[in-house]
């Protein structure tokens, strides 16, 4: 059952119908000029149009640069980066689990910073370099983080693993010398229901070139 259906009708309704007819007409006007603007911006790449008005709610052109490759799409503004990657581009390494910025299975990098792809609108990812798990070992050779995950058995069912690898990779690019405690705390944005956290900690320590990882006996 969807939560929405269980809701009493009155809930939320006070906040809903506040768009006046005048607002609507004004909006309709800007929408037209807005979508024209986006059209022209895409041609000139990265930065969105000057004086951008509203675009959508229907599909608008969105250009995504994923793992170095440029993709031109037509997406509604509400489409998340994760849905665009998985459903439109067939780049399915990033997983959809909680879909609420909590579990980390969808983690990708935007300009090498870790983000929850489920909670970034695709239209907001325009102009950024997006790296997914597919982009990490593009030449077929495992990265140090991946090798360490294998060595320390940092996965069991494996479903959370791409998100963990992305989060760990981004984290180590920022912080080269973490303690085990820092790893636990700062990588708290990913959840593994199999409970492989110990392996993940050791893998990160090893990938960071620390002693603890090499001695970690899993």
């Amino acid at each position: 059952m969807s939560r929405k259906k269980d809701r009493p009708q009155k809930a939320g309704s006070s906040e809903k119908s506040s768009l006046t007819r005048r607002d609507f007409l004004k909006g309709a006007g800007v929408t037209v000029s807005g979508s024209m603007l986006v059209g022209s911006t895409i041609a000139s790449a990265a930065s969105p149009g000057p004086e951008a008005g509203f675009v959508g709610p229907g599909p608008v052109p969105v250009t995504l640069r994923v793992n170095g490759k440029v993709h031109k799409l037509n997406l509604e503004p509400r489409v998340t980066l994760l849905d665009a990657l998985r459903d439109r581009l067939n780049i399915t390494g990033s997983k959809k689990v909680c879909d609420r910025a909590t579990c980390g299975a969808c983690t990708v990098m935007m300009d090498r910073k870790p983000v929850y792809a489920c909670t970034v609108l695709a239209i907001e990812a325009e102009g950024h370099n997006i790296t997914t798990i597919e982009g990490l070992a593009a030449d077929g050779k495992l990265t140090p983080v991946m090798e360490a995950f294998v060595k320390h058995d940092a996965q069991q069912c494996g479903f959370c693993t791409p998100g963990f690898v992305m989060a760990c990779t981004a984290y180590l690019e920022r912080d080269h010398n973490p303690t085990e405690e820092e790893i636990s705390k700062n990588l708290g944005g990913n959840i593994c229901r199999c409970g492989t956290y110990r392996g993940v900690r050791h893998a990160v320590l090893e990938a960071a070139g620390m002693k603890g990882g090499a001695n970690g006996n899993m």
Partner: protein, 328 residues
């Protein structure tokens, strides 16, 4: 998620122009970490979203020990944690930011969004509204109130303020700048939050056509600050109770103190009782504990959340001891 129109203006002025004059029709998006999930859950259903992503004038952090700190709305939690001035002068602020877990959240989330995030209350997040009323009566006192308020809960609201940064910022006498159609105004953060009295009201005094653009923190003047949060788990979650303190000390004597509790009331909860218990006293384990006791002296727990009274008391004590010991 319902469909919406989207705009990403480049200036504060343009952004303000795109906002509506009533709540609900248009939402402002900074990092989006709260808004996108709330839209997926149908908790908010805007027809329009105004993204601040391209408003470059909101991406800054300025100032330092002498003149105080100015934080732009789009400063991320990660950037706040990395700010040398914050680390040196306002450890309590950095400790609060450190409680916001997961690097993803820290890189995406902004300081303004942290202050404006909507409550985590189960009833609110499941579509029953901020006041969780059904047939004119709140469902919370007789319902699932494990995480609900223990202070300021005489009604009509029982949710707890979700912000981790607000308590320490209030203890530091911070202000926020709001930009609206008639220009800008400054509001003391201590007067920014309110307990909504009816379902249509929001939990803060910002108007629907205003944008929170800046947080101003006065000079630390050698004050001792700390935040202590008590949480159920170390990963991404909101604390069960937190205390933020800012102390002006004369040797070991407390000259002036600010004690603000978080996650225990519908608003960040300043405790004049705790401050009174501290001012003029030597700060010891005993006086810190007395301050904690005073802070919860007026608590009125509900059927399931009595445990939070003890947590809040201990949070005050530990925040005070952390402030004077100067540990990170």
């Amino acid at each position: 998620m319902e469909a919406f129109e989207y705009a990403s203006p480049k200036s504060i002025q343009d952004a303000v122009r795109l906002l509506g004059s009533t709540w609900g029709g248009t939402e402002v998006m900074a990092g989006g970490t709260d808004l996108v999930s709330a839209m997926k859950d149908g908790v908010v259903t805007p027809k329009r979203v105004v993204s601040l992503k391209n408003v470059k004038e909101l991406q800054f952090a300025r100032g330092g020990a002498r003149e105080g700190l100015r934080l732009g709305a789009l400063l991320t939690i990660r950037e706040l944690l990395d700010l040398p001035q914050a680390k040196q002068e306002y450890p309590g602020l950095v400790q609060a930011a450190d409680g916001i877990r997961g690097e993803q959240m820290r890189h995406m989330g902004t300081v303004s969004g942290e202050l404006l995030q909507r409550p985590r209350d189960w009833y609110f997040r499941n579509g029953f509204g901020l006041l969780a009323e059904y047939d004119g009566k709140s469902l919370i006192p007789d319902g699932q109130n494990y995480y609900s308020a223990i202070l300021g809960n005489s009604g009509p609201a029982y949710f707890v303020s979700p912000s981790s940064l607000a308590p320490i910022l209030i203890a530091l006498d911070a202000k926020v700048t709001l930009h609206g159609p008639n220009g800008r105004r400054e509001v003391e953060l201590s007067k920014f939050y309110r307990t909504p009295q009816s379902e249509g009201e929001r939990e803060y005094v910002i108007n629907p056509d205003e944008i929170l653009t800046e947080i101003t923190v006065p000079a630390a003047r050698g004050m001792k600050t700390a935040t202590y949060e008590i949480r159920e788990k170390e990963g991404l979650d909101w604390p069960l109770a937190a205390a933020a303190v800012a102390l002006e000390m004369d040797g070991n004597t407390v000259k002036r103190s600010r004690v603000v509790l978080g996650h225990v009331a519908p608003v960040p909860w300043p405790s004049p009782e705790a401050e009174e218990a501290l001012n003029g006293k030597n700060l010891t384990e005993e006086t810190a504990d007395a301050a904690g006791k005073a802070a919860v002296s007026k608590a009125t727990p509900l059927s399931q959340n009595g445990y939070k009274v003890q947590l809040a008391r201990v949070a005050v004590k530990r925040a005070l001891m952390r402030a004077v010991k100067g540990e990170a």
